[in-house]
């Protein structure tokens, strides 16, 4: 969207206009308003009031916030989505120098907790009133007062000195913990037994460090430290041209490597008002749905493994291979597809390739039905997964959960339907939801979504076969402006915000991956659980766990010699299933 010059009156029309109008006098200036996107500047001292008004609105959730250094301070852009209208309203508040302060909204909107910590780490913005302003993104040894996303920071020449070799491990007693901003070694509840999961750990997409505080068998609190996987992609993108960025963002996450570039190019296409050729829209849909298929099968397999059903693990991964094969046939690579570009796609698909894709997904239906029935009809799995790790619909909204994590809590949000992109509005498919909010619900959503994905792919193949057409709108320059793009990745909504100043590089590129909002829901879903149920609950939001075994230990705060490895945790989980199976 290109912004009207300052002082121009923007008419408040449609649902976006209603949303902005409902904020009343808190809105200082409306910058942009059309059918689905809005942008307004709000009074910086009234951020909390605006946040609570927005959260109370039907179907509204905080997607994320973007911090951006400008001349007078740091501009904080709160992106709110309202579903099912499918609109994204960006509310801007300026934190002025020298204090760079804005009241924290994390107390009214839990979804803002992590993002405010991130902006504090990377930009030095301050959020007085934040409940837990510890370091989140940067590493333990990073010096205070150095903010990598500031414009004056050069990512190569201004790097601080590296941490010393073999610095102490993450698990320390309170006496040993060094003073400093990092969470490593900080113990929130001394006296409670603490279970450390991580930092090298199979359940997480990124190496993360979880601390579970337990009372007997029951989890009373969860704490998390990330940073192990922080690769500074947002800063890196500012040094790449618009055309190079898709190659970087498809390496944000290897399992969402079709969704991230698509969200990015949609944001840029919004800035440049690009009309993407119809054929390219269908081709994008095919690759994205194939990705969803392989990702969901991957999840089903690993979930099976954690519950002691290794047969499910082997089967699901065996049937996933044909999907990888057709992805390789169509794009040239099993996992990094590089097919999405601004204005269209890079490669067309021939009729022969389309036929192969069609055949592969058709043959997948039988095995998928078998796996689905195995899971849905198994009384032990019902006993093991139902009413476990419950995320209520209200919590899902407050934490801003997306994708199968929200749909498993009966929150019917899906970007593909609400704010259609690619060819989803031209195809026949439905949004899958499940009641309950438990692990079982999330599993059901993923299993049934596979069938919808097959349906979508088959329709696209049928539409494209035997036809030819343009696949690229040939975009030459990106005008100044701001754009948002969001895509329903297998794990939930991935959200990109791009700002252009008319040069050949983005001035700011903000990426919010689905796990960033889904991971914190553990706080709501893990507390009160038994320890053997935690492994599967952590896995239920599908934070793309990478490999089977890493470092994990359970430490008794009073007796540091008692340790349980992750292996033992999985064993506990598997034993519980076995015990239940006997009872049945």
């Amino acid at each position: 969207m290109s912004i009207a010059p300052s002082g121009t009156e923007v008419a408040l029309t449609g649902p976006v206009g209603q949303v902005i109008a409902s904020l009343g006098s808190a809105v200082v200036e409306v910058e942009f308003c059309d059918e689905r996107r809005g942008m307004a500047r709000i009074d910086p001292v009234r951020t909390v009031e605006v946040a609570s008004t927005m959260l109370a609105m039907d179907g509204a959730r905080l997607v994320t916030a973007t911090g951006l250094e400008v001349r007078d301070g740091i501009d904080v852009l709160y992106h709110w989505a309202v579903e099912p209208a499918g609109i994204v309203v960006t509310l801007k508040a300026l934190a002025t120098r020298p204090g760079l302060e804005l009241d924290s909204v994390a107390n009214v909107v839990p979804a803002a907790d992590w993002i405010e910590r991130e902006m504090h780490d990377l930009l030095g913005a301050n959020f007085p009133g934040h409940p837990d302003m510890r370091r989140l993104i940067l590493d333990d040894s990073w010096p205070e007062g150095v903010y990598p996303l500031r414009k004056g920071f050069d990512q190569v020449t201004d790097r601080p000195a590296l941490p010393p070799n073999r610095t102490p491990p993450d698990v320390l007693t309170p006496q040993e913990a060094p003073p400093g901003p990092g969470t490593a070694g900080q113990i929130k509840h001394p006296g409670k037994t603490m279970i450390n999961i991580g930092p090298f750990h199979p359940l997480q997409e990124e190496a993360e460090f979880f601390q579970l505080y337990v009372d007997g068998e029951t989890v009373v609190d969860v704490d998390v430290r990330i940073s192990y996987n922080h690769r500074g992609i947002e800063k890196l993108d500012e040094s790449k041209t618009f055309d190079q960025v898709p190659f970087v963002v498809e390496r944000v996450c290897g399992i969402c490597s079709a969704s991230h570039p698509l969200a990015y190019v949609q944001a840029v296409e919004e800035i440049a008002h690009v009309e993407v050729p119809e054929r390219a829209l269908y081709l994008r849909t095919i690759v994205n749905e194939l990705e969803r298929l392989h990702s969901h099968l991957l999840w089903v397999g690993l979930a099976g493994h954690f519950l002691g059903y290794n047969t499910v693990f082997m089967w699901a991964w065996k049937y996933r291979e044909p999907v990888m094969d057709v992805l390789e046939i169509a794009t040239g690579s099993r996992v990094t597809y590089a097919n999405c570009k601004i204005g269209g796609v890079r490669r067309d698909m021939t009729d022969e390739q389309l036929a192969q894709i069609d055949k592969a997904v058709t043959e997948l239906q039988g095995p998928m039905e078998m796996i689905t029935n195995v899971v849905l009809d198994d009384p032990v799995l019902h006993a093991r997964l139902k009413k476990v790790g419950v995320l209520s619909a209200a919590d899902a909204k407050a934490y801003g959960a997306t994708g199968p994590t929200a749909r498993g809590s009966d929150v019917p949000i899906d970007v593909r339907r609400d704010d259609p992109y690619a060819a989803y509005d031209r195809l026949d498919w439905k949004v899958i939801t499940a009641p309950g909010g438990d692990v079982f619900g999330k599993a059901v959503v993923r299993l049934l979504e596979n069938f919808e994905a097959v349906k979508i792919i088959k329709q696209c193949c049928a539409h494209l076969r035997g036809t030819k057409g343009e696949i690229d709108a040939k975009v030459e320059a990106i005008p100044p402006g701001e754009g948002v793009g969001h895509v329903e990745a297998p794990r939930g909504e991935t959200f990109h915000y791009v700002r252009s100043d008319g040069s050949n590089r983005p001035v700011r590129h903000k990426i919010r991956a689905p796990s960033f909002v889904n991971v914190p829901t553990f706080k709501a879903s893990c507390i009160g659980l038994q320890v053997p149920d935690v492994a599967i609950t952590l896995a239920s939001v599908d934070p793309c766990y990478s490999c089977t075994e890493r470092l994990c230990s359970v430490v008794d705060a009073e007796n540091p010699h008692r340790r349980l490895g992750f292996k033992e945790l999985v064993k506990l989980s598997q034993e519980k299933t076995r015990k239940m199976r006997k009872e049945w």
Partner: protein, 149 residues
């Protein structure tokens, strides 16, 4: 001397692998995991993914080695009984790939490990990500290398 011989003999077959994600995008990681499943089935070479570096003969390291991961990767390496082979998998583990210029990068994986053990045996599997076949080929080469020790 005899002890070294015994150690090397013990490494000839059935390599056990511990997987370390030092800040990867998950591409290499899912492909490593894929090796265990029916299509590629690396267990036919006697290889096994294990849950602790103390049981491992091979460290499969993926990812860029970020500042936060660097000391932890070194710690994991020091916990692995020597001789062990460090298999740096993917462009990131080789030379930090597309992320080389980023501010949160630590040293490259091989530099991080050589900093704590200059004698470390490191092998490189290029690709972004390497195909599972390339990883199997690397594993077989590792076995052949260990036979010569």
């Amino acid at each position: 001397m005899a002890l070294t011989k015994l150690k090397n003999w013990a490494l000839r077959k059935s390599l056990w692998v511990y997987h370390v994600n030092a800040g990867a995008c998950n591409n290499c990681d899912i492909e490593v995991l894929d090796l265990l499943t029916p299509r590629y089935d690396i267990e036919r070479f006697g290889m096994l993914l294990v849950g602790s570096p103390r049981h491992a003969d091979v460290l499969a390291v993926t990812g860029t080695c970020t500042r936060q991961a660097m000391p932890r990767v070194q710690e994991v390496y020091m916990q692995t009984p020597r001789p062990c082979v460090v298999m740096a998998i993917g462009s990131c583990a080789l030379a930090q790939g597309i992320f080389a210029e980023s501010y949160h990068m630590g040293p490259k994986v091989d530099e991080a490990i050589r900093a704590v053990d200059p004698e470390a045996i490191i092998m490189y599997v290029p690709g972004c990500p390497p195909k599972p076949e390339a990883m199997i080929s690397a594993a077989v080469k590792a076995m052949e290398f260990l036979k010569q020790l």
